[in-house]
């Protein structure tokens, strides 16, 4: 239990951990997805930033280049018109006018001016020509310099710089020096422009005197320099204009730097301290045409790019899906767990139930067995008590006790059987048995009761059922006994009829019956309404119409049309035989409401049944189990107050032919064969009953002719006599069997008179013996003086045979008829000395008795050794009967020793002196005959092998004895 709790706890923790893990995994997925989408959108923003930045840089560069080109053009203009014309064609007015009119071409330049190169030596001349003093940037007269660069022409917008020496400004001076050295446009670093106060740069262009080669040296360039053209770029407004032209300028922050000195970039545009979204930016290089200076443009977003909505919604959706999936899995898992747990519990309960069931069965078996053992003692003692001298009361008490005890034993046996079946311990054996004798036995068991009640009890076995079958005779008998017992118990009038057919055969008949079903049923209905007798065994209606004469006749005729020889089915059919056994009665029937629990143990139709009829109701359930064990099934048809018909099938095996014949001798009740050819006439109104009687008589070899009334008898006899006359002359006696209900004293008297008359006339040789068949004691009184014998039903072949023997005197006749056999036996055995060896005293005594009867002098020996000592040569015996199975030394061994002894003696005789007078024999050979109970071929061969001369079966049969003895003994007579 504690383990389970621990397991539960662990499981609970595990489950919790799983939930947490799942949720965190989902959150992880959410975060991952979110980041991914953001990354993608960022990259897109970055890309667009790059492209926008590049675009701005290129435009700026282009516009700048355009402006530079114009300045270049101006430089050429100045050189052309100022220096190559004499006098110069250019003056301040023209320059200002021209530059003002072409200002639209240089939107970026706030203005342009031209400064002439003046060396110090030329200053005075220059100043006088121009009429003003060269001034410094601070508007002071310029101090003495090596050279000067005073502005002589300027655009109107920047006219304030006229006469200012450009060399005096630090940046401008540097610019001028670089420009004249390179011959290209150069830029200053950004600074605050005069006037606008905007950040700007100054562009300076050198103007050379003409004739300078393209690849001139620096000194040459300096020498050739005439002046400098300069212009101020207002970078701030330049960039602002540019950005204004472009879309999306709100979003982007642009900074332009001069990075000539990489360590401290100078801001050309934009705030000194960059703001906006700092995390990413793009830098584009700018080329303004000055190789010395380097500029770059840096762009960034003014605001952080917004997080796209999809970065929230998509992962959220996925998260929800994940949670749902997790929940579904969890629920499924939970359910699976519950179901598994339930299943385990069920399994446990099932095991417990099964164990309880087995325990119950074992308990029953044990207890039953334990009760049975002392009960047997009680019964045995009661038996012995009944053997003693008791007065009537005592005897009555003891008998009652015995009956009760027997009932108890049978009940216990049934319970034990039931328990064994339930425990699966009951095994069906497979031994050869004779079905017919088993049925005879069962019938005999109930004969007393049936006679008492006056019930017709009959059995019929189809000819097609093999004589010997393999199966469990005990269990088979048990089933039939149970069914017949029930029937006898619940039947007060009418009949009980047991039939055995082959199942497949019976089925074909039933099918045939179904075809004519409608007619049959309507006919039946009519019969019921008119109330006439039914064509059944006793004339009473039966629950199942199977046994009506119509049907039965069909079965019979079917049997006759098919070859009935036992050889044929043996050859043609499989090993298995399915028998169908029907037990039909005309008892009280089973109420409809109880029919479905007939096979339930301890369940009778109702509680009053056991009061009235006794019994426990376990028998049928056992029968059902047994039938199922035999591979068949049992069912029934029952109608209250009409009767019940129980039908069951059982699968048995055919016996081998060779083994069959041997087994038959051992198993079957030996029916006398002396009635072969006897004829009988049966008077019976009921064809079914007639067929049953015929079946029993045919087993005895009696041929039967059936007539329905007594008046037809003379004709039948006539017919037989006709046969007699026509040549097949036979002295076989004739028997007239009459059913008790056909018996009428008057009619009988008539018949007898007629028969006597006929005999006197010589029409018949012998008056047939009249046999009356009765079912109850009371019918016996009907028998008048004309009846030779009364046979009580139920019929049993051996009983009938005994009665017939008595009435026909065949038993006596045998001795009379066959004086030859007996006489010859007497002749053969008379006065002979015979040794009988058998360890079984009873057999010894009987064998001795038989042999003595034929006049032999018998000596007995109880073992092989005794026989050997008696047979020491020379001896007086003429023959020896030797039992085969004996302890210590069996018959074979004894015979071998005897033969050995004899051969030695013969040898000695031949070598030794002439034989004595008494024994004229030259060679000893004592005929030894084996006595054995099981006469099978193997035994016979072994007999011959060890030197025996033949065998006789036990118990002795006269003919066989004669046959065996005749070969070896020479009759004295």
């Amino acid at each position: 239990m504690a383990e389970m709790v621990a397991g539960d706890r662990r499981w609970w923790l595990y489950r919790k951990a799983m939930v947490v893990l799942w949720v965190s995994a989902s959150v992880g997925i959410w975060v991952g997805l979110h980041w991914y989408i953001r990354r993608v959108s960022m990259r897109k923003a970055e890309e667009s930033l790059v492209s926008m930045c590049e675009e701005r840089a290129r435009m700026l560069q282009d516009q700048f280049a355009v402006s530079v080109n114009h300045v270049h053009a101006l430089a050429i203009l100045v050189s052309t018109f100022h220096y190559q014309k004499h006098p110069p064609a250019l003056d301040q007015e023209t320059f200002a006018d021209y530059t003002a009119r072409t200002a639209f071409e240089r939107p970026l330049l706030s203005g342009v001016a031209y400064a002439q190169r003046v060396v110090h030596s030329e200053r005075e001349l220059f100043e006088s020509q121009q009429g003003w003093m060269i001034k410094t940037m601070k508007r002071e007269p310029s101090p003495v310099q090596d050279e000067y660069a005073p502005v002589i022409y300027s655009q109107e917008t920047i006219s304030y710089i006229e006469a200012l020496d450009m060399m005096s400004g630090e940046e401008d001076r540097e610019n001028i020096l670089r420009a004249r050295a390179t011959g290209k446009a150069v830029l200053t670093s950004p600074f605050r422009l005069l006037g606008s106060n905007h950040l700007g740069v100054v562009l300076t262009f050198p103007v050379y005197r003409s004739g300078l080669p393209a690849d001139a040296m620096v000194e040459e360039r300096v020498e050739a320099t005439a002046g400098y053209l300069g212009g101020a770029f207002d970078v701030e407004s330049l960039v602002e204009n540019l950005l204004r032209q472009l879309a999306g300028n709100q979003d982007i922050m642009v900074n332009v730097y001069d990075v000539t000195n990489a360590s401290e970039p100078l801001v050309m545009y934009g705030s000194q301290f960059p703001d906006g979204y700092m995390s990413f930016s793009h830098v584009s290089m700018l080329d303004f045409g000055d190789p010395f200076r380097r500029h770059q443009m840096e762009c960034r977003y003014s605001n952080k790019p917004p997080i796209p909505l999809s970065a929230i919604t998509t992962p959220s959706g996925v998260f929800v899906i994940c949670m749902l999936a997790g929940y579904i899995l969890y629920a499924a898992w939970n359910r699976y767990d519950n179901v598994k747990e339930d299943c385990r519990k069920m399994e446990e309960l099932k095991k417990q139930a099964e164990a309880a069931d087995v325990a119950k069965s074992q308990f029953l078996a044990t207890v039953s067995h334990e009760i049975r053992t002392p009960m047997n003692g009680v019964l045995g003692m009661l038996d012995m008590l009944l053997d003693t001298n008791l007065n009537l009361t005592q005897k009555d008490y003891a008998q009652t006790a015995q009956v009760c005890g027997k009932a108890l034993i049978s009940l216990i046996n049934e319970v034990l059987d039931r328990a064994k079946i339930e425990a699966g311990k009951l095994e069906i054996e497979s031994v050869p048995f004779d079905l017919r004798s088993i049925l005879d036995d069962v019938i005999s068991l109930f004969s007393a009761k049936s006679r008492e009640k006056g019930i017709e009890l009959a059995v019929y076995v189809s000819d097609r059922v093999p004589e010997i079958l393999m199966g469990d005779p005990g269990r088979f008998r048990q089933i039939i006994t149970n069914l017949v017992g029930n029937s006898v118990k619940f039947t007060e009038r009418g009949h009980i009829f047991v039939q055995v057919h082959l199942a497949e055969h019976s089925n074909t008949i039933t099918e045939a019956k179904v075809e004519t079903g409608l007619n049959g049923h309507s006919g039946e209905a009519k019969i019921i309404s008119t109330g006439t007798a039914f064509d059944t065994l006793s004339g009473l209606e039966a629950a199942d119409c199977r046994n009506s004469w119509e049907n039965f006749k069909m079965v019979l005729s079917h049997e006759q049309t098919l070859p009935t020889s036992s050889g044929m089915p043996n050859d043609n059919y499989a090993d298995k035989v399915t028998l169908m056994v029907t037990v039909e009665d005309t008892g009280i029937g089973i109420p409809f409401h109880a029919q479905n629990r007939v096979f339930t143990p301890f369940m009778q139709a109702d509680s009053s049944t056991s009061r009235n009829y006794g019994g426990t109701g376990i028998g049928l359930s056992i029968s059902k189990c047994l039938v199922e064990l035999m591979g068949g099934q049992i069912n029934f048809v029952s109608r209250p107050h009409v009767g019940s018909t129980f039908t069951f099938t059982a699968v048995l095996q055919r016996c081998d032919k060779s083994a069959g014949s041997d087994a038959k001798r051992a198993l079957s009740e030996v029916l006398p064969t002396c009635f072969g050819g006897t004829r009988a006439i049966l008077v019976d109104r009921r064809p079914v009953r007639g067929a049953v009687t015929r079946y029993h008589l045919q087993r005895l070899g009696i041929s039967v002719e059936c007539v329905s009334t007594i008046n037809e008898v003379p004709n039948a006899i006539q017919g037989q006599n006709g046969c007699l006359r026509s040549g097949t002359h036979s002295k076989q006696p004739c028997i007239l069997l009459i059913e008790h209900d056909s018996w009428d004293t008057k009619a009988d008297v008539c018949l007898c008179n007629q028969l006597i008359q006929w005999k006197e006339n010589g029409r018949i040789i012998e008056i047939p013996k009249v046999v009356l068949l009765v079912t109850s004691e009371s019918d016996k009184t009907k028998a008048g003086s004309d009846v030779d014998i009364v046979i009580m039903k139920p019929l049993r072949a051996s009983t009938v045979a005994a009665c017939f023997q008595q009435v026909l005197g065949i038993g006596k006749q045998q001795t009379r008829d066959r004086p030859k056999g007996s006489a010859s036996l007497s002749g053969l055995l008379d006065g002979k000395n015979i040794l009988v060896v058998d360890d079984n005293k009873v057999n010894l005594r009987v064998a001795a008795g038989v042999l003595k009867k034929y006049g032999a002098n018998v000596e007995c020996a109880e073992s092989g050794k005794d026989a050997l000592s008696l047979l020491q040569l020379p001896h007086k015996f003429d023959a020896c009967f030797m039992d085969v199975q004996m302890p210590e030394m069996d018959g074979f061994e004894a015979t071998r020793q005897i033969r050995l002894m004899e051969s030695k003696a013969t040898e000695k005789n031949r070598i030794g002196p002439a034989p004595e007078e008494g024994s004229l024999k030259t060679a000893w050979h004592l005929p030894i005959l084996a006595m054995t109970a099981d006469v099978i071929q193997a035994t016979y061969e072994e007999c011959l092998k060890c030197g025996m001369d033949g065998y006789v079966s036990k118990p002795f049969e006269e003919a066989q004895l004669y046959q065996a003895v005749a070969e070896f003994l020479v009759s004295d007579s």
């Binding site: 045995g380 031994v431 030996v670 049993r796 009873v842 005594r845 008795g849 039992d883």
Partner: protein, 157 residues
């Protein structure tokens, strides 16, 4: 009076015999045994039967002791005993005893201990029944002989 008694006894005997035959307790062999009885051996039947009872009781006792212990049961010995019992039973015509013996032997051949025990119980029961009935028969026979003797005595003398 006495003569009537003898006739009644004879009828009773016949009825008893018929019953035994009908129940399959006895068979034709018993009749043959009776036929063997004649003047030369007047007590042949009872002699044989009493030998039979003596031997059978011995055998039954042996069988019972052989089957006492489930573990060490000598089925071979049981078979030998059964063969003896079967032989003698068939000689006297004790049919039902013999049939039971057959089943018993089948059980012993299968080493089926419980089957053997069951068969033994049935066998003992059958045997007791046979014994009782035959005793009854012989008692009647004796009475009949006595009655007949009493009846015929005057005639003889």
């Amino acid at each position: 009076m006495l003569g009537l008694g003898a006739a009644r006894l004879e009828a009773d005997m016949n009825r008893l015999m018929a019953l035994l035959f009908h129940q399959g307790v006895l068979d034709e062999q018993f009749m043959q045994l009776q036929q063997l009885q004649d003047e030369s051996s007047p007590n042949f039947v009872s002699e044989v039967i009493s030998i039979y009872f003596r031997e059978s009781e011995k055998l039954l006792k042996n069988l019972r002791s052989l089957l006492a212990d489930r573990e060490c049961t000598d089925y071979r010995k049981i078979g030998i005993h059964l063969n003896q019992l079967m032989g003698s039973s068939s000689s006297v015509g004790a049919k039902r005893v013999r049939t039971v013996c057959l089943a018993f032997r089948a059980a012993s051949e299968h080493n089926n201990w419980s089957g053997c025990l069951r068969s033994l119980e049935v066998l003992e029961h059958e045997y007791c029944y046979l014994k009782t009935k035959l005793h009854e028969l012989f008692q009647m026979e004796q009475q009949r002989v006595m009655a007949a003797g009493a009846r015929y005595h005057p005639l003889l003398s």
